[in-house]
C-alpha cells in the first residue's frame, strides 16, 4: 500500500497548527488596527461643503482669531458655526461678487441657513464641552490640528475614546497657558511636563475626576 501522507504533509500540518493559533490572534490584531485606523475613524477625511471655506486663508493668511466666527467656544459646549450674518460682516464689503460665495449671499438674502457637513464628531453619548477645555488651557489645535494649514477642513485626530483618555490621563503633556489657547503657532516648551504640572495646579484642575465615566457620559 502506498503511503497515505507524502513528506510535504508534515510541513502542511505544522502550518495548520501554527495558523490555528496565529490566525485568530492576527484577525483580532487586524480588527483592532482597523478599528483605530483612519478608515474607521474618518481621520483626515474632508467633506464636501456648500462653500469651500478655507481655514488656510482665513486663519493662516489673514490671521483671524477663532472666536471671530466660533462665538460659542468660550461660553458653551458647542463652539458654534457662524451664522450667515457673521460671514457677511466682511463679505458684504470684500469679494462681494465672488462666484464661490453665491450660496452665502443667497442664504443672507433668503434667511435660509447654510447646511454644513459636520467634520469633527463624537458619538451622541459623549457630552463634550468646548468652553471648559478652552478655559483650562487646552489649545484649539490639540484636537483640531493645524487648522491654519487646511485649505479644506478635515478631522485631524481620530477622536476615539482612547485618544481622549490619553490627554485626560496625562493633561500635563498638553496643557498650555490660557493666553496661548487660540495661538495656532504655539510650541511646547522643552520643560512642558514641569510647566504643565504647574498649570494644572494653577488652573485648579481636578485630575482624579478627569477619568471618571461621568465626566463625559451621562
Amino acid at each position: 500500500m502506498a503511503q497515505l501522507f507524502r513528506p510535504g504533509a508534515n510541513s502542511i500540518a505544522v502550518i495548520v497548527i501554527v495558523a490555528l493559533f496565529a490566525g485568530p490572534a492576527a484577525a483580532i490584531a487586524f480588527a483592532y488596527f482597523l478599528w483605530n485606523s483612519p478608515y474607521a475613524t474618518d481621520q483626515n477625511l474632508t467633506r464636501a461643503q456648500p462653500v469651500p471655506f478655507s481655514h488656510l486663508h482665513h486663519v493662516g493668511e489673514l490671521g483671524l482669531d477663532c472666536r471671530m466666527c466660533h462665538t460659542g467656544v468660550e461660553k458653551a459646549a458647542f463652539a458654534g458655526i457662524p451664522s450667515t450674518h457673521i460671514c457677511m460682516t466682511c463679505h458684504s464689503q470684500i469679494w462681494t461678487n465672488a462666484q464661490m460665495l453665491a450660496p452665502v449671499r443667497a442664504s443672507y438674502a433668503s434667511g435660509k441657513p447654510l447646511h454644513w457637513q459636520r467634520v469633527n464628531r463624537v458619538p451622541d453619548y459623549v457630552f463634550f464641552d468646548h468652553s471648559i477645555h478652552v478655559a483650562k488651557g487646552i489649545g484649539c489645535n490639540v484636537c483640531h490640528g493645524p487648522v491654519q494649514k487646511m485649505a479644506l477642513m478635515r478631522q485631524a485626530e481620530p477622536l476615539t475614546m482612547g485618544w481622549c483618555l490619553e490627554c485626560h490621563r496625562h493633561p500635563e503633556k498638553y496643557i498650555r497657558p490660557k493666553d496661548d489657547v487660540f495661538d495656532m503657532y504655539w510650541h511646547q516648551p522643552f520643560d512642558q511636563l514641569e510647566v504643565g504640572a504647574k498649570l494644572i495646579r494653577q488652573y485648579l484642575i481636578h485630575t482624579d475626576h478627569l477619568t471618571d465615566c461621568s465626566t463625559c457620559h451621562r
Binding site: 478608515y39 474607521a40 474618518d42 467633506r47 462665538t71 460659542g72 461660553k75 458653551a76 459646549a77 458647542f78 458654534g80 458655526i81 457662524p82 451664522s83 450667515t84 450674518h85 457673521i86 442664504s107 443672507y108 433668503s110 434667511g111 435660509k112 441657513p113 447654510l114 447646511h115 454644513w116 457637513q117 459636520r118 464628531r121 458619538p123 451622541d124 453619548y125 457630552f127 464641552d129 468652553s131 471648559i132 478655559a135 483650562k136 488652573y203 485648579l204 484642575i205 481636578h206 482624579d208 475626576h209 471618571d212 465615566c213 461621568s214 465626566t215 457620559h217 451621562r218
Partner: protein
C-alpha cells in the same frame, strides 16, 4: 434590488447574485451617517447655541394663573420650573405645571379646523359664522367658558357682549368653589376670596379642606407649611377631620375620619367652643374628643389660630367658619373675588342645559370647556348641543364636546401663546410663548376677538393693549419688566376688612341613608383636562399608588361587611347609575364613605387618555357635587384591573425602620445617631473634591409628586404604559412611597421620596460584569449606558429597588408607539435617551452637576453651597429635598446629617447611602 416577494421569478442565478451582494455589503464598512450643522442665518442676540434660556410665563389651573419659568434650549421648551417672583409659585411647581411641556408636544393635540369629521378651512368657518342664525343683537348667542380671570380674555368677552348685547356668557369650572362662594355670601353678603396666611397660624383646624392638595393655592400654602416645619419656628399643630384621605390629612398631627354628616357636627362643636350657641352636636366619642381638643387649642392660640372648611362642606359651615375665624382673629386675608361672574358654577351649567333644551340658543361657542364630558348625564348636554344649529368648540383637543359640536377650532397651548392671567389674589402675569405655534392654531383671545369683530385680533397686540398703562415712554419699559419678572407690579388686590358679627342659621344635617360618596378631582389628571398627558397618567396617585385609572376607595370596615377584598371590582350605584371600578381598601377612611375621583373615563381624550378608568362626573343630579348621599356598594360581576406601582417594591415587616416617625419631645430627648462606620468587604470608594449627598425630609414631604414629574421631564424618563405597569415595570427614577401606620382611631400616613441612594459601598457595583455601574470621585454611583449589556444583576442586587430596566425601546417609542414623534422635541439634549436593554437610574441630575462644575471652574472657584440644585429639589413646594456637598462641613446636608431626626434606610446593610432621610414628626403625643 428585486423585491422580496414570493420566489416565483427568483432563479438560481439571481439567488447567487443576491447572496454575493449580501456578502460584499457585509464586508463593506458600516459608515456612520453624515451629520449636518445648520447654523442660524441671523442668530438672535444673546443666544448661545445649546445653552438653556429661561423665560417667565404663566400656566393656569382652574382658571387662576401661576407664574413659572420655561427652560428653552435652542428654541425648544423642555422644562418648567418655578418662578420665585410669583406669589403663587414661589419657585416651586406642581405636577400639572411640570407636565405642561408634555401637553405642548402631545401628538394628539388638535391641529386643524374641523367641520364634523372633516378637516375644513378658516374661510369656510367664517362664512358659516356669518350665516349663523342668531339675531343681530346676539339673541340666541351663547358663549361657554371655564373660569376666566384673565384681563385680556375678560376684555374680549366684554367686547363680544358689546357687539352682541343680548348674548349670554355661561362660565362654569368643574372643580368649583360654589360652597365657599355661598358661605361668603351668607357671612359677608358678597363673594370674597379667603386666603389663609398659613405661616402665621400656630393651630390649624381643617374640616375636609385640602389646602395642601392640588389646586391654584397649593404651592403658596405648601411653602408656608414647610416654613413652619423647620426647627426654628414654634411647631404648628394641624388638626384634620375628613372622610377620605387627603394630602392635608396625611400632613396633619391629629386626624380623625368621620362621615360628612359628622363633619358638620364637628363644625358646630368647634363654633360652640368659640362662643356660638348652636345646640349640642351629635358626635361619637372620638370625634367629640377631637372637636373639644381642637376647640381648646384654637382658643388658646387666639390670633394665631385658623379654621378651614373644604369644598365638600355646605355653605353654612363656610359661613360659620368665617364667623369662627373672626372670633379667633385668624390670619386670613379677605380679597375681592377675581371671578367676576355673579352666579355660581353649578347654577351656570344648569342654566346652560335649560336654555339648550328650551331652544333659546341658536349659536353656541364653547371655549376651552368640555361640558359634554364633565356635566352630569341628567343635564343631557350632548343632546342639547345637537339641537343647536350653529355650534363651535375651541380647544386644545378634539374632545367630547368638539365631537358634539358642528365646528371645532384648534387652540394654541399656553407655551405657544401670548396672553395674561391673574392669580387668586389678583396678581397679574403675562403668558409668554416659548416657541412659535407648532400647528395652525390660535389662542382663545384671538378667536373671541375675531368673533366680536374687533379691530385687533392678534393675541400679542391684545395683551399689549390691556397693559398699555401710564406714560407712553414708560409703557415699553414696564412691559419688558413684566416679561422679565413674570409678574406685573402692583396688581395684587388690597385685602378687605370684613366684620362678621353674627352667627348665621345653622341647620343640622339629616342623617343620610346609604353610604356617602365623597368625590374630589383626580390627583393626577385633575378634572379630566390632563387625561391625555402620559406623564400624569403614569404618575401614581399619592395614597393608592394607582396609575392609568381610577378606583373606588372604601373603608376596611365596609369592605369586611360587604365581603370585598383589596383590588376586587365593585359596583357603586348612585341615583340609579352604576360605576364599576376596582376597589382599594383605605385604612383610616370613615366607615360609610366611598372615595371617588373625577377626571377619568374620557371617551375622546386622545390615544393616551381615552377609555382609561371610569367616568364619575356623570352621576348625580347636582353638577360636580362633592358629596352624594345614598350610594350603594356591592361586589361586581365584571373585573377591572387595578394598576399600581408601590407593590412592585414592597418589603414586608420593615415598615418601622423604613419610615420612621417621632414626636418633638422624642426628638428633643434623642442625641444624633453616630454614623455607621463598620468595615466592608467592598472596595473603598474614591474621594474627590465634592461628596454629593441628598437629605430628604419626610416631615416636610406632602406627597404631591411634583418631584416625580420634574425628574421625568429633566431626565428624559420614558412612559411605559398600562400593560407594562401591569407586568411590574415602571421607569420613574424617583418614586414616592406611601406609608401607613396604625395609630389610635385612625392611621398615620406619610410619604417618602426614594431616588437612588448612591451608596458608598454600592451592592450594584461588584455584580456588574462590564463595570457599567461604577463610582466616580464625587461619590456618585453612575450608570454608564454605553457599557451596559443588560444583565440586570445590579437591579437584583439593589436593596432599595431604584434601578429601572428598559425592557423595550421605551424612549424610542417601540413599546409605546402612541406617543408620536413630536414628543422627541421635549427631550433634554443634555441627557442621553436610553435604548432597549439598558439599565438606568437616578444620577443626582449629573448634567446639572456638570454644568455647575464647569461654570464654577471657568471662574476658578468651587461650586458654591446651594448653587447645584437637582430637578426634584427645584420642583419641591415644601423644600423637602436638600442637596449639597458633604465635604463642606457647614453645608445644609452636612448639618442635617447630624440632626437628631436623621436616619438611613436599611442601615444594617452597611451600604452607607448618600441619600438619607429625616424622620416624620407628628406634633402630638396622644392617641387620635
Amino acid at each position: 434590488m428585486p423585491s422580496l416577494k414570493p420566489p416565483s421569478g427568483l432563479d438560481r442565478r439571481v439567488a447567487l447574485k443576491l447572496l454575493a451582494a449580501g456578502m460584499a455589503s457585509a464586508m463593506a464598512r458600516c459608515s456612520r451617517p453624515d451629520e449636518e450643522i445648520i447654523p442660524y442665518a441671523d442668530m438672535p442676540e444673546g443666544l448661545v447655541a445649546g445653552e438653556p434660556m429661561r423665560f417667565a410665563t404663566t400656566l393656569s389651573l382652574a382658571g387662576y394663573g401661576r407664574g413659572f419659568l420655561g427652560i428653552s434650549i435652542d428654541g425648544r421648551p423642555i422644562k418648567i420650573e418655578g418662578n420665585p417672583n410669583h406669589p403663587f409659585s414661589l419657585g416651586a411647581t406642581d405636577i400639572f405645571a411640570e407636565a405642561g411641556v408634555m401637553s405642548l408636544y402631545d401628538p394628539d393635540r388638535s391641529k386643524a379646523i374641523r367641520r364634523g369629521d372633516t378637516i375644513s378651512t378658516w374661510g369656510a368657518f367664517s362664512s358659516a359664522w356669518r350665516h349663523a342664525t342668531h339675531a343681530q343683537d346676539g339673541q340666541g348667542l351663547a358663549l361657554v367658558t371655564g373660569r376666566v380671570v384673565s384681563p385680556t380674555t375678560l376684555a374680549r368677552i366684554g367686547a363680544l357682549k358689546n357687539r352682541y348685547p343680548q348674548s349670554r356668557w355661561y362660565r362654569y369650572e368643574p372643580v368649583h368653589d360654589d360652597a365657599a362662594r355661598a358661605g361668603a355670601r351668607q357671612a359677608f353678603g358678597k363673594v370674597v376670596t379667603a386666603l389663609p396666611n398659613w405661616a402665621d397660624a400656630d393651630v390649624v383646624v381643617a374640616l375636609d379642606a385640602n389646602p395642601l392638595g392640588h389646586g391654584p393655592d397649593e404651592l403658596r400654602i405648601a411653602r408656608a407649611y414647610a416654613a413652619r416645619r423647620g426647627k426654628a419656628a414654634k411647631r404648628q399643630r394641624i388638626h384634620v377631620a375628613e372622610s377620605i384621605w387627603s394630602l392635608t390629612g396625611a400632613a396633619a398631627d391629629v386626624r380623625v375620619a368621620v362621615t360628612p354628616a359628622h363633619l358638620v357636627e364637628i363644625a358646630r362643636a368647634i363654633a360652640n367652643a368659640c362662643g356660638a350657641h348652636l345646640g349640642t352636636p351629635e358626635l361619637p366619642d372620638f370625634a367629640k374628643a377631637f372637636a373639644d381638643r381642637a376647640g381648646q387649642e384654637l382658643l388658646a392660640a387666639r390670633g394665631r389660630a385658623l379654621v378651614l372648611a373644604g369644598d365638600s362642606q355646605p355653605a353654612e359651615v363656610h359661613a360659620l367658619f368665617h364667623w369662627t375665624n373672626a372670633q379667633l382673629r385668624a390670619p386670613v386675608s379677605y380679597l375681592p373675588s377675581q371671578d367676576i361672574v355673579e352666579n355660581d358654577h353649578a347654577y351656570e351649567l344648569c342654566a346652560l342645559a335649560n336654555d339648550l333644551h328650551a331652544g333659546r340658543i341658536q349659536t353656541l361657542i364653547v371655549a376651552d370647556a368640555n361640558p359634554v364630558y364633565d356635566a352630569p348625564d341628567s343635564l343631557r348636554i350632548a343632546e342639547g348641543i345637537a339641537t343647536v344649529p350653529f355650534s363651535a368648540h375651541i380647544g386644545l383637543y378634539r374632545d367630547e364636546t368638539a365631537h358634539g359640536c358642528r365646528w371645532h377650532l384648534p387652540m394654541s397651548h399656553a407655551l405657544e401663546s401670548w396672553g395674561d392671567e391673574r392669580a387668586l389674589d389678583g396678581t397679574a402675569s403675562i403668558v409668554q410663548p416659548l416657541i412659535q405655534r407648532l400647528y395652525a392654531t390660535r389662542t382663545r383671545d384671538d378667536y373671541l376677538a375675531w368673533l366680536a369683530n374687533e379691530d385687533v385680533t392678534k393675541a400679542y397686540d391684545l395683551v399689549r393693549k390691556t397693559w398699555q398703562r401710564g406714560a407712553p415712554e414708560a409703557v415699553e419699559a414696564s412691559w419688558r419688566k413684566a416679561l422679565n419678572d413674570g409678574v406685573i407690579a402692583n396688581t395684587a388686590a388690597t385685602p378687605l376688612s370684613l366684620p362678621v358679627d353674627r352667627v348665621s342659621d345653622f341647620p343640622g344635617m339629616s342623617r343620610p341613608r346609604g353610604m356617602s360618596a365623597v368625590i374630589s378631582p383626580d390627583p393626577s389628571v385633575w378634572d379630566g383636562r390632563y387625561a391625555n398627558n402620559a406623564w400624569l397618567q403614569e404618575c401614581s396617585k399619592p395614597f393608592t399608588k394607582q396609575v392609568w385609572g381610577n378606583a373606588v376607595q372604601i373603608a376596611p370596615g365596609d369592605a369586611q361587611r360587604l365581603g370585598i377584598e383589596d383590588e376586587d371590582t365593585v359596583d357603586v350605584t348612585i341615583d340609579g347609575k352604576t360605576i364599576t371600578a376596582p376597589a382599594v381598601l383605605m385604612p383610616g377612611q370613615a366607615d360609610g364613605t366611598i372615595g371617588l375621583h373625577w377626571g377619568q373615563g374620557r371617551l375622546e381624550a386622545g390615544r393616551i387618555g381615552s377609555n382609561i378608568g371610569v367616568r364619575v362626573c356623570g352621576v348625580g343630579a347636582r353638577p360636580f357635587a362633592r358629596v352624594i348621599n345614598g350610594a350603594a356598594l356591592q361586589k361586581s360581576a365584571s373585573t377591572v384591573p387595578f394598576r399600581s406601582t408601590q407593590a412592585h417594591t414592597r418589603l414586608q415587616g420593615k415598615m418601622e425602620q423604613l419610615f420612621q416617625i417621632a414626636t418633638p419631645s422624642e426628638i428633643a430627648r434623642t442625641s444624633p445617631k453616630k454614623e455607621n462606620r463598620a468595615p466592608s468587604l467592598l472596595p473603598v470608594p474614591p474621594k474627590g473634591d465634592y461628596a454629593w449627598a441628598m437629605v430628604v425630609d419626610t416631615d416636610a414631604c406632602i406627597g404631591c409628586n411634583a418631584c416625580v414629574v420634574a425628574c421625568q421631564a429633566e431626565n428624559n424618563v420614558p412612559v411605559v404604559g398600562p400593560e407594562e405597569i401591569s407586568q411590574g415595570r415602571d421607569m420613574h427614577w424617583l418614586r414616592v412611597d406611601s406609608y401607613m401606620r396604625p395609630h389610635g382611631y385612625t392611621e398615620r400616613r406619610g410619604f417618602q421620596p426614594v431616588p437612588c441612594m448612591h451608596c458608598e459601598y454600592a451592592p450594584c457595583e461588584p455584580v456588574c460584569p462590564v463595570e457599567a455601574s461604577v463610582h466616580d470621585h464625587e461619590g456618585l454611583n453612575v450608570q454608564v449606558y454605553n457599557r451596559c449589556i443588560g444583565t440586570r444583576f445590579c437591579e437584583a442586587n439593589c436593596p432599595y429597588k431604584v434601578r429601572r430596566f428598559n425592557w423595550f425601546d421605551y424612549s424610542g417609542e417601540q413599546a409605546y408607539a402612541d406617543e408620536g414623534v413630536a414628543l422627541k422635541a421635549q427631550h433634554n439634549p443634555d441627557v442621553s435617551a436610553r435604548g432597549r436593554g439598558v439599565m438606568e437610574k437616578c444620577n443626582y441630575c449629573l448634567q446639572r452637576i456638570s454644568r455647575a462644575r464647569k461654570t464654577a471652574e471657568k471662574e476658578n472657584r468651587k461650586i458654591a453651597e446651594g448653587e447645584m440644585v437637582t430637578a426634584c429639589q427645584a420642583a419641591c413646594p415644601t423644600r423637602a429635598i436638600h442637596f449639597g456637598d458633604l465635604n463642606r462641613a457647614d453645608s445644609d446636608v452636612s448639618n442635617l446629617r447630624k440632626a437628631a431626626q436623621h436616619y438611613t434606610l436599611l442601615e444594617e446593610l452597611n451600604t452607607r447611602p448618600r441619600t438619607t432621610y429625616l424622620k416624620r414628626i407628628f406634633n402630638s403625643d396622644e392617641n387620635g
